[in-house]
């Protein structure tokens, strides 16, 4: 299902819950890929789905990119800022792809109101679904660095181990996407994620 091997398009899928910082993470990947000289397309969910619903961002880069949407089974990496959202998007990942999943558990209103159950075996399912997995508590790691809101950058750092963009490109992507006073903490959150073994 990939494009031809001489000229593969790299596909990234990010999942989570509205408000977790997926749009920023998507922008950083896109700008990093641009800095590395690639053509880029991204797609993110806006509007109603952002009000605490499931959200998905898709990023594709390469020499030529047509569709901004990733085909099932084609993503080299899948990042998820919430536990079960990774399962919802699991089918996007290519057979040998890397999944980076935060253990964060955001209980949907459908569970709190008693209509559904949050699966207690989520971690076991995640470990079965993703043979190549980094499973981490991105919120705790970001908290240690100084701001829980940087958990998206921790995920991004870990994801970067499954891609081949140079470190300078990532730094450039971060610098272009966050306010100057937040560059340093975001770089540190990214580095903490990148230090995890994918």
């Amino acid at each position: 299902m990939q494009n031809n091997l001489d000229n593969p398009t790299i596909n990234v899928v990010l999942a989570g819950v509205g408000g977790q910082g997926i749009l920023l993470a998507s922008e950083i990947i896109a700008r990093a890929a641009m800095a590395a000289g690639f053509a880029v397309k991204t797609n993110e969910v806006h509007g109603m789905a952002q009000r605490g619903g499931s959200v998905l961002a898709q990023i594709r880069y390469g020499a030529v990119v047509h569709s901004p949407l990733v085909e099932h089974g084609a993503a080299q990496v899948l990042g998820s800022l919430e536990r079960i959202e990774s399962l919802r998007c699991a089918d996007y990942l290519a057979p040998a792809g890397l999944a980076v999943v935060s253990s964060q558990r955001v209980v949907p209103i459908t569970v709190s109101s008693g209509q559904a159950k949050y699966p207690e075996d989520a971690e076991a399912r995640i470990r079965t679904a993703f043979p190549r997995l980094v499973y981490l508590d991105a919120v705790a790691m970001a908290g240690e660095i100084g701001n829980v809101k940087c958990s998206n950058l921790v995920i991004l750092g870990a994801l970067s181990t499954g891609l081949t963009l140079p470190a300078e490109a990532w730094q450039e992507g971060i610098r272009q996407s966050v306010k100057p006073k937040f560059v340093d903490i975001n770089l540190r959150a990214f580095a903490a994620g990148a230090a995890l073994d994918g």
């Binding site: 299902m1 494009n3 819950v17 922008e27 896109a30 700008r31 641009m34 053509a39 880029v40 397309k41 991204t42 797609n43 993110e44 969910v45 806006h46 509007g47 109603m48 789905a49 952002q50 009000r51 605490g52 619903g53 499931s54 990119v65 047509h66 569709s67 901004p68 949407l69 085909e71 099932h72 089974g73 084609a74 079960i84 959202e85 399962l87 919802r88 699991a90 089918d91 990942l93 955001v106 209980v107 949907p108 209103i109 459908t110 569970v111 709190s112 109101s113 008693g114 209509q115 559904a116 159950k117 949050y118 699966p119 207690e120 399912r125 995640i126 079965t128 679904a129 993703f130 919120v139």
Partner: protein, 587 residues
């Protein structure tokens, strides 16, 4: 000249194209997925005047005025907005533009944030005007300038149609300089040109028909339409985002790429048909192109293999290709069991003031006619307090029909502040005039929240950043003739319930303005995060009736407040019978 490139969404690229093409007046009404066009264009103030009009009809009429002076203008809206603006559109199509006027309409295949799935291309044929359909951000910029030029050259309004995936996908765009806008000549009095009373309107009607073949010829020659010859065994006719998907799924196929799809470029379609063995039309939503290709006498496939409901994607087209080729799709082994995953629908934010009014409404057995906005989310359990949604403004108007038809329950209409100004006001006037007696609740959070906090006539400021008079909902209601008009703070639950109770008991129409600013717009929580004292908690779960995402509960983990989410609104504290919820009191 050095060419600068930038990563832009389709919407930002339209704004860039409009700016570079010398647009001086831009209007619109917010609506996903179109909203960011005008927001991005307003960054170029004061060179470009931008306004959020109260509704799409007004927005188009403002732009028509600008066009008649010779200025270039754009109007932005979502697909259903064009229904509201259809009245000026249909007659303006006959009168014709002076300065270029482009109507940017964003469709929402798949209904990500819309109440229906509607294909705007039909409006182009209906109004007999050109329509452009960019497939990425670079084309969004280019086609905006091209559409403005065609508008002026042929004296016609032009539609620029995007879809959610064009508007909200980002890709690389080469930026250009702003061309000096033509100095508007000013309005030149000429009644036969501008006044479609029948004697002059009939001539305009003939001019529209004479314009169509000339537009058709221009579409055949336009750079927006092109034939990409590869393998002649299969020729795909496509446009918009479907072109991008088709290129991924049928990389070897020849393609007729239609960026200017109506008036149909017949000669180009025939020429392409003659160059390929088989024709396949790949289009999202209706079989708009396919029907016409067949009408030209060309055999083709299309809707028989490509779905017409919901949005397309590479995954959907992969399945369509297998069907087209009559072979089974290679089965994909699902990685994980997902059938039992709890769904995660959008929900009112923690700290949202609308939650208070919904909680209050839940105490009464009434019919609630709802409307379009964040408060549409009140339909979901556990709030469950909205019974109908139709279109902008209908939350107010429909109450009258329920009552006059003899509905036995009391009827409550609910509408947001921006929607009230958009088209709820006229429904209220009708209620007062035609002696209705519903309770109308205006949930006034001082902004257009769902689309990302655009100012509206009640906000006290404009898109240009200027201070403006804040329209008073209470004064409008009084001026309509409503005598029972009251204002509540929805965070005070008991007072809100009491106000509702009294209004429902009265035998006259009432307007309750539920007023509190959107905390998301204010940029800070209302107070510190609250916490539950697990020893005090009776596990009665009364608080869960609020449907607050910060109140998390399941059997395995019990009841807790997620302090990362809690907005500090204290509604849960007010209804806890055990006083088990602690936290700082109101500021």
């Amino acid at each position: 000249m050095t060419s600068r490139v930038e990563l832009l969404s389709g919407n930002e690229a339209i704004a860039r194209g409009a700016y570079e093409a010398g647009v001086t007046v831009a209007t619109g009404y917010p609506g996903t997925p179109s909203t960011e066009i005008l927001e991005a264009l307003s960054e170029f103030k004061p060179e470009t005047y931008c306004e959020w009009s109260p509704n799409e009809k007004v927005a188009l009429e403002v732009a028509v005025g600008a066009s008649f002076t010779g200025a270039r203008s754009i109007v932005t809206m979502k697909h259903v907005g064009l229904n509201v603006a259809a009245d000026p559109l249909m007659t303006f199509a006959s009168i014709g533009a002076v300065g270029g006027l482009v109507i940017c309409v964003a469709d929402d295949p798949g209904m990500h944030s819309s109440q229906n799935e509607q294909d705007t291309r039909h409006y182009a044929r209906f109004a007999k005007i050109p329509i452009f359909e960019p497939s990425d951000s670079a084309e969004a910029r280019d086609f905006t300038a091209l559409a403005l030029q065609i508008s002026e050259q042929f004296q016609t309004p032009v539609i620029l149609r995007t879809t959610t995936r064009v508007s909200h996908s980002r890709s690389i765009v080469a930026l250009g300089q702003r061309s000096q806008p033509p100095k508007p000549a000013g309005f030149v009095k000429n009644p036969p040109r501008y006044v479609p009373i029948p004697i002059w309107g009939r001539a305009m009607r003939r001019a529209v028909e004479e314009r169509l073949p000339r537009l058709r010829t221009a579409a055949c020659e336009s750079s927006a339409n092109r034939i990409e010859m590869r393998d002649p065994a299969l020729g795909i006719i496509t446009g918009s985002i479907a072109y991008q998907y088709a290129r991924d799924i049928w990389p070897e196929a020849s393609v007729l790429k239609l960026g200017w799809s109506y008036p149909f470029p017949d000669e180009l379609i025939r020429r392409f048909g003659a160059q390929v063995t088989r024709l396949l039309v790949v289009e999202e939503l209706d079989d708009f192109l396919e029907e016409h290709v067949k009408a030209l006498g060309l055999a083709c496939d299309g809707r028989n293999v490509v779905p017409g409901v919901g949005e397309l994607s590479p995954t959907v087209l992969r399945a369509a290709r297998a069907k087209y080729e009559g072979r089974p799709l290679a089965p994909v082994q699902p990685r994980a069991e997902t059938k039992d995953l709890p769904s995660r629908p959008p929900v009112l934010c923690p700290g949202c003031p609308h939650r208070g009014i919904f909680y209050a409404l839940a105490q009464f057995d009434v019919v609630v006619t709802g409307d379009i906005g964040c408060y549409s989310l009140g339909v979901f359990p556990p709030l469950n307090r909205m019974d109908t949604i139709l279109c902008m403004g209908a939350g107010v108007s429909m109450t009258q029909g329920f009552e006059k038809a003899g509905e036995t329950k009391r009827v409550v209409g609910m509408v947001g502040d921006s929607t009230f100004f958009h088209s709820g006001m006229t429904g209220l006037l009708n209620i007062a005039y035609n002696r209705g007696s519903p309770v109308i609740i205006v949930v006034d959070n001082r902004t257009t929240a769902m689309t990302g906090h655009q100012p509206n006539p009640g906000s006290g400021q404009t898109l240009m950043g200027e201070a403006a008079p804040a329209a008073s909902i209470e004064a409008i209601a009084s001026a309509c003739g409503i005598k029972r008009v009251l204002t509540v703070n929805p965070y005070e639950l008991q007072q809100t319930i009491q106000a509702l109770k009294e209004s429902l008991a009265a035998h006259e129409p009432a307007v309750i303005v539920s007023r509190a600013p959107c905390p998301l717009d204010q940029g800070q929580p209302l107070g510190e995060a609250l916490a539950i004292d697990q020893e005090q908690c009776l596990q009665c779960l009364e608080c869960l009736g609020l449907g607050c995402p910060a109140l998390e509960h399941d059997e395995a983990h019990g009841l807790r407040i997620n302090d990362l989410l809690c907005g500090g609104c204290r509604m849960c504290k007010q209804i806890c019978p055990a006083e088990a919820i602690s936290g700082a009191d109101a500021k």
